[in-house]
């Protein structure tokens, strides 16, 4: 027996989409239509090939006007794809968009139950009846508009963050550029010459930083971390903690240089991936920005040697906390190069097994002959996909940038540093697109390519000098090839940067690969589930520089479309109190995490009231109310109860 939704007098139009054949291959749409059309209140029930197609949309608009209809139900794909499409249709027909309900009979029916077509058909009927029940009771709702702050917080001043800052500033948006390190530039600053254009990281970062500094509407904070965030799209209030650099102007570059020389403390230099040492007061390279050194307080012994040379050093500087108010948050927090485990291909078991990031630093620091640990290097073996494409491991993905960047480095080794023997021990080279040219160039200039398969990785023997690498080479019909080499470079992939605190403060959604996750790679590729929070660059997944810049600019388009109107339309599905039923017990106030409930007095009787600009429509207040006096618009008590009834049929 199928229960009928209550008849409320609304004239309802129901559209059942075949979705080409995605739905109609499993759900008997004609049967569904027949059943549904018999329901009370259903003025018409139609089948369409693609409900979302322009022609079908036009047809619905015409039906609304000609029948006329008071409400529509579209049974098609997930509302996550087309809710707004059909709300628009309802509006164009002259209906309130909330007098439209979308019923998901594809993802949650035809596809999930393609093994049981008869039951899928029955389920479609139930689901549609529930949709009809809901729409019968739905009230017209109007979205609230709130003013939007014309400013953005960009988190991370790597290539992606800086590139976005420049464009947004030029579009008239105020930019707060928040960088956790004491220097801007992110990873690119470390790489020296790069594919595909041979520009150096230093050149690129210098150019971007100059452009950033030219613009008054960009404020740069270094040593800065977000420690709290409140509010939502249009109006985020963010607290930023700014660590002191213990150095301030005025002091000239010469005095800084002397101060650094005077510092007696030496620690591993993480900018050079611990290949070299640095002082407790340092900068990574001379032209780095902001062009002022920083004191590493964890290492500083407060011996005050440096103070003798430079008056700009302030060892007693304190951190500051500032508050900023922005309309949107733009995450560009980048990635970390994969750090191999001890013993992974001989890493940390032989000093001449290094990572690709270390090689990039070496290449940048090398002038003249290529030497490592005092010895001239004539043979280099690259092992690819280290930390990537692990079929049974943690990092299942391909890191995308590495094949091309490694081959580019190999070309540099051969052409500039005259390294005669270069071996590429790979798992299938992925120089996609125009990058293929580099592969072609490398393989025709004498580099040797050897290929291994997943379950038979190369073996690195580190007990003897020089190192030997043995590969079961796929390219020569599985011949076992042993390469003798002076240096092994592990071509490491990318992993997300450690950002636990930021992720929990902003509730950043993560994907299976642990990178930040977009809503949909094609429909909404730079937005997240959190409205107003966009992502770009390598924090979203591996990319090269051009791709990082491209995604950053795409996110600029999104942010600017949010902010340029000065106001934002909010979903009207907020809490509503029925003052007649409210007995003011205060339980809802306790339950609300967003301070959206206040106590007011109407005719001396205390009742709850909703502060709409704070309410997020989470509904946490509804189950705690003993008199059922609070509802969420669009999910009201009668609506949900009648949906349950309709589904139970």
């Amino acid at each position: 027996m199928i229960k009928e939704p209550n008849f409320t007098g609304k004239r309802i139009g129901v559209y059942i989409c075949q979705c080409g054949s995605n739905i109609s291959d499993y759900v008997d749409v004609e049967k569904v239509r027949e059943e549904i059309s018999r329901g009370k209140g259903v003025s018409l029930a139609k089948i369409t090939m693609f409900a979302c197609a322009d022609s079908a949309q036009k047809e619905i608009v015409a039906d609304i006007q000609n029948e006329p209809l008071d409400a529509i139900v579209v049974a098609s794909c997930s509302p996550k794809l087309h809710l707004n499409t059909f709300r628009g249709v309802a509006e164009r027909g002259g209906l309130n968009p909330y007098n439209y309900v979308q019923v998901n009979i594809r993802e949650q029916d035809s596809w999930a139950h393609s093994d049981k077509p008869a039951q899928a058909t029955l389920k479609a009927i139930h689901l549609i009846r529930a949709g009809i029940a809901k729409v019968s009771l739905s009230e017209p709702l109007t979205p609230m508009t709130i003013p939007a702050e014309n400013s953005v917080a960009i988190v991370g001043a790597g290539v992606a963050g800086m590139r976005a800052a420049i464009e947004l500033a030029d579009l008239g948006v105020n930019v707060h550029l928040i960088e956790r390190e004491h220097f801007v530039g992110g990873r690119v600053a470390q790489w020296g010459k790069m594919s595909m254009t041979n520009q150096t990281g230093e050149e690129i970062i210098t150019e971007l930083y100059h452009e950033v500094k030219k613009r008054e509407s960009i404020r740069v904070y270094t040593g800065a971390n977000i420690i709290a965030s409140k509010g939502s799209i249009g109006n985020f209030n963010i607290q930023v903690k700014i660590q002191p650099r213990y150095v301030e102007p005025p002091c000239d570059p010469e005095s800084f240089k002397k101060a650094i020389e005077a510092c007696p403390v030496e620690v591993d230099d993480e900018f050079n991936f611990n290949l070299t040492k640095r002082k407790a007061i340092f900068f990574n390279y001379r032209s780095e920005f902001p062009a002022m050194p920083v004191v590493d307080m964890a290492a500083c012994t407060r011996c005050e040697e440096c103070l003798k040379y430079c008056h700009g050093i302030r060892l007693d500087q304190q951190y500051r906390i500032i508050e900023i108010h922005v309309g949107s948050i733009f995450l560009a927090t980048g990635f970390n190069p994969y750090e191999p485990k001890k013993g992974e291909f001989g890493y940390q078991e032989h000093p001449n097994v290094i990572t690709f990031q270390q090689l990039k630093r070496l290449l940048d620091l090398t002038k003249g002959e290529f030497r490592f640990r005092g010895k001239k290097i004539e043979r280099v073996a690259f092992i690819y996909c280290v930390g990537s494409r692990q079929i049974d491991g943690e990092n299942k993905y391909c890191a995308r940038y590495c094949c091309t960047s490694a081959i580019h480095a190999a070309i540099q080794l051969r052409q500039e540093l005259k390294v005669p023997f270069i071996y590429h021990i790979n798992k299938g080279i992925r120089t996609y697109g125009k990058q293929e040219i580099l592969y072609e160039q490398s393989s025709t200039s004498g580099d040797v390519y050897l290929q291994f398969v997943e379950d038979d990785p190369p073996v690195v023997e580190v007990l003897n000098n020089p190192i030997k690498v043995t590969v079961n080479d796929l390219l020569t019909a599985h011949m076992e090839v042993t390469v003798t080499t002076d240096l092994v470079v592990l071509i490491t992939g990318m992993v997300p940067r450690v950002n636990t605190e930021l992720i929990s403060i902003l509730k950043v959604p993560l994907g299976k690969d642990h990178f930040y996750n977009e809503i949909h790679p094609k429909l909404r590729p730079v937005e997240t589930m959190i409205d107003g929070l966009v992502i770009a660059g390598c924090c979203q997944g591996p990319r090269n520089i051009a791709e990082s810049a491209s995604s950053a600019l795409a996110a600029v388009s999104k942010v600017y479309s949010i902010l340029n109107k000065g106001e934002i339309k909010l979903e009207p599905t907020l809490a509503i109190v029925n003052p007649a039923a409210c007995e003011w017990c205060g339980k809802c106030l306790e339950a609300c995490p967003f301070d959206a409930i206040e106590r007011i007095e109407t005719e001396k009787v205390p009742v709850a009231r909703i502060i709409e600009s704070n309410c997020k429509g989470c509904g946490m207040c509804t189950p705690v109310c003993p008199t059922e006096a609070i509802d969420i618009k669009g999910y009201t008590n009668p609506e949900v109860r009648s949906m349950i009834e309709a589904m139970s049929g």
Binding site: C19, G20, S21, N22, F50, C52, A53, D54, S55, C77, L81, H82, T85, G88, R92, E167, D170, L171, G172, M194, T197, I204, E207, L208, Y397, C398, R430, Y432, G433, K434, Q435, E436, I437, L475, T476, A477, G511, D513, F515, P521, K522, L523, P525, V526, G541, P542, I545, E547, A549, S550, S551, A552, L553, A554, A555, S557, K558, Y560, S561, N564
Partner: protein, 447 residues
């Protein structure tokens, strides 16, 4: 598009987007959301580009039509966007203010768009049957026809090249929408910025004699296979064209026309590995008993979720063989003998398949560089449109205010095309803001 617009003097817009594929649509939508007025000029009868014709898309396997149609209809409806279908830009010049003046030619479709209801009565009445280019010649269509079921606009057109002028459609058309007197219409517009998104061409495999030079009946291109796999597929299953048999041993030949200097295309097409892996999975859905083998040199599964998608295909028992196909020979029963070097064993082998799909590559779609007259709109070494500062200003061309998006800059998949369109739109928006400011500055400062 309204007739008012066509005839009025309202020919100043903010931006012109050339090409209505996914990159062009995204560019226009982004600009429209930012408040700019945009015109899209599309050569074809419908917007949507290549993507609207795809089956499901890697790596999420969502149905391509379901993602394209909302974008298509949002574009078609947006108050800030005007679309000229069946049109091409003929000439572009730059005026003293630095704005661009474009001359656009719209070819007639011989159907009055405001009257046609898309009922297809003309199609039924028309006696002429020709090959349907939208189905990649797999089936036929009429000379009076609606391009394809989800075309936007979904209205008829008369293919005058094949029309025998019998007048059957005119009689059949209830609303009297057919008008053989329509003529080419010229529109001139002035804009401050241009986004070129003219997409790519597919490599024509007839140029490869080793693979039969287009003469082998059961050798198809991936685009033809794609059409057999769409939800509105013409045959409702996979058939080989030679004899209509359901194939059970299908081979994919990757890099057909890519990474091959001998055919003039040294670069990798970036998408063929992935679309072949996708099609293999879809074929196993449509013809569960089939064997699918992919002959590859390298599998470029580099993007977000791609390698996982590749592993999934292996789990589904798609065979991957590393080897270059030397020759394809047709046997008497229409089956095909593939001769290849099997790299894993180092031997030359031969294997029989009953259908072969050539994973054809992406080629540049040139032509826009000729429109700018004296201004030189540059190409890159591979004849895609040039990006002089590709690392930090991607999708900016060498001409001020002219940007490029999507596959017109080089091979790329849909997610990257969409990002590129967003990037081009952001840069165009900034350029227009600055350009506007400098014009009003000139106007207010006495010389």
């Amino acid at each position: 598009m309204s007739d008012d617009f066509r005839n009025s003097s309202l020919n100043e817009l903010d931006a012109l987007v050339i090409g209505g594929g996914i990159a062009g649509l995204e560019s226009a939508l982004n600009l429209a959301h930012m408040g700019f007025h945009v015109m899209i000029v599309e050569k074809d009868l419908s917007i949507g580009g290549r993507m609207i014709h795809l089956s499901k898309v890697f790596p999420t396997l969502d149905c391509s039509a379901c993602i394209t149609t909302p974008k298509v209809s949002e574009t078609a409806r947006h108050p800030n966007i005007e679309i000229l279908n069946h049109s091409e830009v003929k000439h572009i010049s730059r005026d003293e203010n630095g704005s661009y003046r474009a001359v656009i030619e719209q070819r007639p479709r011989y159907v009055i768009d405001s009257l046609c209801t898309g009922c297809q009565d003309c199609e039924e009445a028309c006696p002429v049957v020709v090959k349907d280019e939208y189905q990649y010649n797999l089936v036929g269509r009429k000379a009076a026809y609606i391009p394809f079921s989800i075309a936007s606009p979904r209205i008829a057109a008369i293919d005058l090249d094949n029309c025998i002028l019998c007048g059957a459609c005119e009689k059949a058309c209830g609303p009297g929408a057919i008008d053989f007197t329509q003529e080419t219409r010229i529109t001139e517009i002035t804009v401050n910025s241009i986004i070129v998104a003219t997409g790519f061409k597919l490599f024509d495999p007839d140029r490869i004699t080793r693979y039969g030079g287009g003469k082998l009946k059961n050798v198809v291109t991936a685009m033809q296979m794609e059409r057999q796999l769409v939800p509105t597929r013409p045959f409702n299953t996979v058939l080989r064209p030679g004899d209509g048999k359901v194939p059970d041993k299908i081979a994919y030949v990757l890099c057909a026309g890519s990474r091959d200097a001998t055919v003039g295309n040294p670069i990798c097409s970036q998408i063929c590995c992935m679309y072949s892996i996708k099609q293999a999975q879809l074929i196993l859905g449509a013809v569960p008993m089939a064997d699918v083998t992919i002959y590859f040199l390298h599998v470029r599964a580099f993007g977000k979720g791609f390698d996982e998608f590749y592993q999934q295909a292996k789990m589904m028992d798609v065979q991957f063989i590393k080897g270059k196909i030397g020759r394809i020979k047709e046997l008497e029963n229409g089956d095909l003998m593939l001769r290849y070097e099997d790299i894993a064993s180092g031997q030359v082998k031969e294997t029989q398949h009953d259908m072969v799909v050539l994973s054809v590559g992406i080629l540049p779609n040139m032509g826009i560089e000729k429109l700018f007259g004296d201004e030189k709109f540059k190409l890159d070494p591979f004849n895609f449109y040039n990006q002089p500062n590709e690392m930090t200003d991607p999708f900016k061309s060498n001409l001020p205010g002219v940007f490029i998006a999507g596959t017109s800059t080089g091979p790329m998949d849909i997610p990257d095309s969409i990002l590129s369109a967003g990037a081009a739109a952001a840069q165009a928006a900034k350029y227009m803001k600055q350009h506007q400011a400098s014009i009003s500055h000139q106007a207010t400062t006495p010389l």
